[in-house]
């Protein structure tokens, strides 16, 4: 053994000295220590994947954050000869904490023209709270052609106890919406933000 042994020698008898290879033996403790370092390195590697992921995604331009889509100015260019029905749905996953509904059930819109719609929400939870609406668009082919220029879902919405408020959304349906789509459904689910997130 090439290490000073100042630990109690209660280890099994045929330990280090006689490894079959004849190489200088490592003690169990040294090898175990190296393996613990290896495990710690793996743990660090898991966290290193976080910046690595961002770098690789931007290099390869993968993921919705890297597709190079920049903020653009909407130029209205209505397609007067085409009408698309936009339906609105509001839902609340938890019973009793919100009243949440669209003002209008549906609208007829011309692609390429800017419209606005309103939802109304009331906080029934009995305390001040913060709501976060999560949008969903159906059918999925319409998703990339439905552009919201302003939406209450972009930011958390603080509500005082018992407050009722109208929430606006402004949108344009793209002119290149596939011709076979004549009906788009925009639905929102209203969640109460978890306490930690609300405190920030």
């Amino acid at each position: 053994m090439n290490e000073p042994v100042n630990e109690p020698v209660n280890e099994p008898v045929n330990e280090p000295g006689n490894t079959p290879t004849g190489k200088p033996p490592t003690t169990n403790r040294t090898l175990a220590g190296k393996l613990v370092l290896f495990a710690a390195g793996s743990f660090a590697f898991g966290f290193a994947l976080v910046p690595l992921y961002d770098v690789l995604c931007s290099v390869w331009e993968v993921g919705s954050r890297w597709t190079g889509e920049k903020a653009t100015t909407v130029v209205e260019h209505p397609q007067e000869d085409r009408l698309v029905t936009v339906e609105f749905i509001a839902s609340v996953p938890d019973n009793g904490t919100w009243q949440f509904a669209p003002k209008l059930a549906a609208m007829q819109v011309h692609p390429g023209k800017l419209y606005s719609a309103e939802f109304s929400a009331a906080n029934l939870s009995g305390h001040d709270t913060v709501g976060q609406a999560v949008p969903s668009i159906a059918p999925s082919v319409a998703m990339q052609h439905f552009r919201k220029t302003e939406c209450f879902c972009f930011t958390p919405q603080p509500f005082r106890k018992g407050e009722t408020r109208n929430l606006p959304v402004r949108f344009v349906v793209d002119r290149d919406l596939p011709a076979d789509v004549d009906r788009v459904t925009l639905s929102y689910a209203m969640y109460e933000q978890p306490k930690m997130a609300a405190a920030r």
Binding site: N14, N28, L35, F38, G41, S42, L49, G63, R65, P194
Partner: protein, 530 residues
């Protein structure tokens, strides 16, 4: 031979084993710890199995009959966590504890005290996990893959789940370090690495996989924890994070984990097939290299679990082709096992029956894995029952059958008594038939489009679900026989087993040179290997 002096003692408790509960609480003996691991795994197998029974009961007919959907989701999530981390992994560690020192001629595991800790962490980890059933919001129900943002909506169980996973991880990393140190440092003189039984080899490679990937899972769940409680945004787009990144980190652990669950099975089958074919294993070295290749490939294929997240064509091609490449070393193994049996003098004792079923049924699971590897086809199969059929074929008649084969192979060595071979053969046939009735129809359901993790389904899926449920109940009941057979042998029923146990002269594992039952202390002086 060095083992001769150990004969003086015969019974189980007369080999200077400490008495009372302290023997188990403070155990440092590799055989005692191995036994505790195996008993723990068996208990978890039945708890996880009971959850599977609830799942199959609810899916017996379309509609919601017995449990509400939230509880059903808890069942699928907890079934997976318990079977993977509580059933299969501890069973492998238990077998490693029992057999690796015996196979390499070491007196014990290299780090006996750490061995004790790594076992005793487990009951606490699973108590935490199971306690979550009694918290507001119930047990975790977002799937064992813990994908955010769904998993972040869990109730109070969230923190318990994450800490339980941390503890399981620490336990299995410590177990893996112990295996590596034992194999690298404690082999008897003359036991070269390339003379080791394959179970030691596959476990050595498994141990490195564990040390490399379990900490990555620990990191991923730590990020979930801070996202949930401390306002970080690793996976929250609102703060610049990305939920898809979780899937990458998770599967960077998750795919090697698949091989952690199956490589020791390859080792066991590689020992059982030669024993009962009465021929040496065909292509020993190629088996070792194939295992190493599989382990290496397992690190570069993870994203085949997430083809549908939307990745560039080049990425899909890379992960598709690298995944298919794994079929090559796996094929080497399957052909080597088959060739070992070629012109062998085969007999069909229970371990061999389970090993043969493993060979056939694991290969079916491997083929459906190849189908899933085809990126364009995977878009159809993703998250359907076809995936459920695939991974249950590789895990149940794969890993679990190999564990049972191993137990039936070494049980006489542990207890000193041959178990009831006839009953074990019954156990084999009932299990094998019912496991196919249970899982094979799931292929059809998946191809027809039935999604996984749902408590209710379209009536078009009704018939095959009923068949699968009947298979499930039969498989579950059959496992009660296993407990009975093992208990009978432990309590001394059945004829006394010889040191070699099986009628075979080829197996060179040192475990066959010590008497049956293996004395409490073995190889206190190193054996001499020719």
């Amino acid at each position: 031979m060095a083992h001769a002096e150990a004969h003086a003692h015969d019974g189980h408790d007369h080999n200077h084993a400490p008495a009372g509960i302290g023997r188990w609480l403070f155990a440092t003996n590799h055989k005692d710890i191995g036994t505790m691991y195996l008993v723990f795994a068996l208990i978890m197998f039945f708890i996880g199995g009971a959850m599977a029974m609830v799942i199959r009961l609810e899916l017996f007919k379309p509609g919601l009959q017995f449990v509400d959907p939230g509880f059903f989701n808890s069942m699928t999530t907890m079934h997976a966590l318990i079977m993977i981390f509580g059933g299969v992994m501890p069973a492998w560690t238990g077998l490693a504890n029992w057999m690796i020192p015996l196979q390499v001629g070491a007196p014990d595991m290299a780090l006996p005290r750490m061995n004790n800790y790594s076992f005793w962490i487990l009951p606490f980890a699973f108590t935490l996990l199971l306690l979550s059933f009694f918290l507001p919001g119930g047990a975790p129900a977002g799937g064992w893959t813990l994908y955010p943002p769904l998993v972040l909506q869990a109730g109070d169980s969230f923190g318990l789940t994450i800490f339980a996973i941390h503890m399981m991880g620490i336990s299995s990393i410590m177990g893996a370090i112990n295996v590596v140190v034992t194999i690298m440092n404690m082999r008897a003189p003359g036991m070269d690495l390339l003379k080791m039984p394959l179970f030691c080899w596959t476990w050595l490679i498994t141990a490195y996989l564990l040390i490399a990937t379990m900490p990555v899972l620990a990191g991923a769940v730590t990020m979930l924890l801070t996202d949930h409680y401390f306002g970080t945004a690793f996976f929250n787009p609102a703060g610049g994070g990305d939920p898809v990144m979780f899937q990458h980190i998770f599967w960077f652990f998750g795919h090697p984990e698949v091989y952690i669950l199956i490589l020791p099975a390859f080792g066991i089958v590689s020992e059982i097939i030669p024993t009962f074919s009465r021929k040496p294993l065909f292509g020993y070295e190629s088996m070792v290299y194939a295992t190493g290749s599989i382990a290496f490939l397992s690190f570069i294929v993870w994203a085949h679990h997430m083809f549908t997240v939307g990745m560039p064509l080049a990425g899909q091609l890379f992960f598709m082709l690298s995944t298919m490449l794994i079929a090559v070393p796996t094929g080497v193994k399957v052909f080597n096992w088959t060739t070992t049996m070629w012109r062998g003098s085969i007999s069909y004792e229970p371990p061999m029956l389970f090993a043969l079923a493993f060979l056939f049924l694991f290969t079916i699971g491997g083929f459906s894995g190849l189908m899933l590897a085809i990126a364009p086809a995977d878009f159809q199969y993703h998250d359907t029952y076809f995936v459920v059929a695939h991974f249950h074929y590789v895990l149940v008649p794969g890993a679990v059958f190999a564990i049972m084969a191993g137990v039936y192979y070494w049980l006489p060595k542990w207890t000193g008594h041959m178990y009831d071979l006839k009953l074990a053969t019954w156990h084999f046939w009932l299990s094998t038939i019912s496991v196919n009735v249970l899982f094979f129809p799931m292929h059809f359901l998946g191809l027809a489009g039935m999604p996984r993790r749902i408590p209710d389904y379209n009536v078009q899926f009704a018939d095959w679900n009923m068949v699968a449920s009947i298979g499930g109940f039969a498989f579950g009941l059959s496992q009660v026989m296993f407990v009975w057979i093992v208990l009978k042998s432990v309590r001394g029923g059945g004829p006394k087993a010889s040191a070699r146990v099986w009628d075979d002269t080829n197996s060179e594992g040192l475990e066959w040179t010590v008497p049956s039952p293996a004395p409490f202390h073995t190889f206190e002086t190193p054996p001499v290997i020719k």
